[in-house]
């Protein structure tokens, strides 16, 4: 469980705080999507939780561990972080060497690394690429390696800071599918900062950030259904929702809750079958 209480944070070179008295609780095993315009403080919040910025005292606790200088090592044990740029987090010369990097830092003996690397690569579907060099991989593949690098360390929390924003649609979809599988297979808490409506729809909860505060905390269906809110934070509604709204506009009684593309297709097929 992550508890953020009354968190205010200001960068030294700015004259206004990015986060202003923000409070948030993320239960274990939840997938939380964090959305908001650029500069709303999403990335800052994620970095503060992971202890990558000097966190104000007594404001964040991760699994009852206060986030501060003294607990950094223990904190990095619990939290895996995947960044936006696929190139700038690839440390190793090959895929397996990159996944091994975190294990080397943890002083895992070489013999014990092998099964963990293998498992992490299998989880993201990159086993066949283990001897590849970064230049031989696409952006999406590099991000999957980054996720594997985090998973190999067996974290309880995985933070994705716009991890899919630099990927092409196909790469993004593969990464998200893998994440969903991993999330379902183990009680991994996921915090994903994103602008992608599909990624938002995958989450259990959505936190909408605006001007350093939480504007709304609700399920994806509620947030994505709120046209005004969606526009305000610069999101785009997922395709299935746009289609649903159009159908409703023409008088087709589509259910109000959020449906994924697949679910909407199912619903339409059922309707067509009963009509015929």
């Amino acid at each position: 469980m992550i508890e953020v209480s009354n968190l205010t944070f200001q960068y030294p070179h700015q004259d206004q705080p990015v986060l202003q008295g923000l409070s948030l609780t993320i239960p274990t095993g939840q997938w939380l999507a964090v959305v908001g315009k650029n500069g709303s403080g999403k990335s800052t919040l994620a970095r503060l939780i992971a202890g990558l910025l000097p966190t104000p005292a007594q404001t964040i606790r991760v699994n009852d561990l206060p986030v501060d200088e003294a607990h950094l090592a223990a904190l990095h044990h619990q939290i895996g972080f995947v960044f936006q740029n696929p190139d700038n987090q690839f440390v190793g010369a090959t895929v397996e060497a990159d996944v091994a990097f975190g294990l080397e830092n943890r002083q895992v003996p070489a013999a014990a690394m092998e099964p963990r690397i293998e498992q992490a690569l299998a989880q993201v579907g990159m086993t066949a690429y283990r001897h590849h060099q970064p230049e031989q991989l696409s952006g999406g593949q590099k991000q999957r390696v980054a996720i594997a690098g985090a998973l190999a360390l067996q974290p309880q929390i995985l933070i994705l800071d716009e991890a899919t924003s630099m990927l092409d649609p196909q790469g993004r979809q593969t990464v998200l599918q893998r994440l969903q599988q991993i999330h379902q297979a183990q009680a991994l808490t996921i915090i994903s900062i994103t602008h992608d409506p599909v990624e938002v729809a995958m989450a259990d909860q959505v936190a909408v950030l605006d001007q350093g505060q939480i504007l709304r905390l609700a399920t994806p269906a509620v947030v994505l259904n709120d046209q005004a809110l969606v526009q305000q934070v610069g999101l785009v509604q997922p395709f299935s929702m746009q289609l649903r709204d159009r159908l409703q506009h023409y008088g087709v009684p589509v259910p109000k809750e959020y449906l994924t593309k697949g679910a909407l297709e199912q619903w339409l097929k059922r309707q067509l079958a009963t009509r015929a």
Partner: protein
């Protein structure tokens, strides 16, 4: 890819030389260079040529490729040899002009000089052609380990080297990208004098440096997030394993040394 071996370029392969322990290759090469300076007679040099021939043969890389790698350096070697020939004295005088003279001793010394250059450059090329830069970095780290006791930050240096090697292709891509961006703005990199061309590279270098610093910062944060602490001990995933052929390699090099010493002193 061009099939020319530039001085130091790795060629993938699975020959015995490729499989040898990089530590042995590095030390062996260093030792060979010492032996080269130790060899002063025709017989000893012949022995070294033979040894070099053996490793070239074992590397299963064609000699013509090595030759293509040495050729660009040939002018410097020849120039040095000519200077050597003109300025040394002794033996029979073939030709002289003022204080410049070509003597038999000078020609012999120049000949040895060319041979030495050839032996040193080729033997180190054998190492770099059969060893990936990363393996070399690993070997260097392993060999420098004793320096840790002198407070030399060996593992940090090794991490720097391997990150530098990892980012060479990435930065090269970036150079291409920036050059294309500048070309799209009407920049012409291929005409003008050497000075103008160099000056035109400034708008490439500046964004490149800015990007490299940004990259470095992001990489540093990413490494920290994955628990990297430069002052902490780390385990190693890539282990170097000493194998039987490495022992054999050492034995062969030892015998070479003995033979060389014998040839030099027996006469």
């Amino acid at each position: 890819m061009n099939n020319k071996v530039l001085f130091g370029m790795y060629l993938p392969g699975n020959s015995l030389m490729h499989r040898l322990d990089p530590r042995l290759k590095l030390v062996g090469c260093f030792w060979f260079v010492i032996l080269v300076f130790f060899a002063r007679t025709w017989w000893t040099n012949l022995l070294l040529i033979g040894a070099l021939g053996l490793v070239i043969w074992l590397s299963q890389v064609k000699f013509s490729k090595y030759w293509a790698g040495i050729r660009p350096l040939m002018w410097i070697i020849l120039f040095t040899a000519v200077i050597q020939a003109l300025f040394s004295s002794g033996g029979q005088v073939y030709w002289h002009w003022g204080w410049l003279a070509v003597t038999s001793a000078g020609v012999a010394q120049a000949g040895f000089l060319v041979l030495r250059f050839f032996l040193i450059i080729t033997s180190s090329t054998v190492v770099t052609v059969t060893t990936t830069p990363l393996q070399l970095a690993d070997a260097l780290e392993a060999l420098m380990k004793p320096l840790k006791y002198l407070r030399v930050p060996v593992s940090q240096l090794a991490m720097m080297v391997s990150i530098a090697l990892r980012f060479v292709p990435t930065i090269m891509d970036e150079v291409g990208l920036i050059m294309n961006a500048q070309r799209a703005r009407g920049m012409d990199f291929s005409s003008g004098s050497l000075f103008t061309r160099a000056k035109r590279l400034v708008p490439v270098m500046i964004p490149l440096f800015v990007a490299a610093f940004k990259r470095a910062e992001e990489l540093a944060v990413a490494m920290e997030a994955r628990g990297y602490d430069p002052n902490q001990a780390r385990t190693k995933f890539r282990q170097l394993h000493w194998q039987r052929h490495d022992t054999w390699g050492t034995v062969v090099w030892g015998l070479l040394t003995v033979a060389l010493v014998a040839l030099r002193f027996v006469k």
